[in-house]
């Protein structure tokens, strides 16, 4: 069974600081997605990582994928309050197989303090 684990589950950080969220998954997959969810809202797509070594950056967020280590990271640079949200990674199970079930990680609640 595919497991997708994120850590930390909760992250309180000060504005201006850097930090990294980790996403580990338990089976082979070379397709990983990052989403943001604001309280009471739906999910917003942040990044789509399609191959080993992929790196995507948007503003203060940078995501990378290491398929050999089954690890993706979401790096936050010089955090600002607007980045406060819950961040989810998601991995496709049975890539190319009979099903392409998209499984979400546990989520990381990020709170950026002034």
């Amino acid at each position: 069974e595919l497991k997708v684990e994120q850590n930390p589950l909760f992250l309180s950080m000060q504005e201006g600081k850097n930090y990294t969220i980790y996403c580990n998954y338990s089976t082979t997959s070379d397709r990983l997605y990052w989403y943001r969810q604001d309280p009471g809202k739906s999910l917003e797509s942040l990044f789509v990582l399609l191959s080993n070594g992929a790196v995507k950056q948007e503003g203060r967020l940078m995501a990378s994928l290491d398929t050999k280590a089954r690890l993706s990271t979401l790096h936050i640079t010089a955090a600002v309050h607007d980045l406060s949200a819950t961040y989810f990674c998601a991995v496709v199970l049975d890539y190319g197989g009979a099903t392409n079930k998209l499984i979400f990680g546990t989520g990381t609640l990020l709170a950026v303090q002034p």
Partner: protein, 115 residues
Amino acid sequence: GAGVSQSPSNKVTEKGKDVELRCDPISGHTALYWYRQSLGQGLEFLIYFQGNSAPDKSGLPSDRFSAERTGGSVSTLTIQRTQQEDSAVYLCASAWTALPVYGYTFGSGTRLTVV
């Protein structure tokens, strides 16, 4: 429409009643997912439709839950004899293909409260 549309946005129902939740995916999207998100929790996979293939129902929590997708477009999630533990936000997502390079688009969800 431009996005994934879900209705109703909120639903309060009495325990034991049946409910139907609707999802209108983006036109042309062949892949459609249903997820459940309980308060403060992550997303629990329920069911996945891809084109004309048989759906992956492996995430449905009990036989009280069922879903269908008519004409490869609109999907309905039905919960029979609702229980309080069914209270959650039900999210629908769609994509162009089974493995989209542009990701999946989520609807705003239906908040279901069973009283």
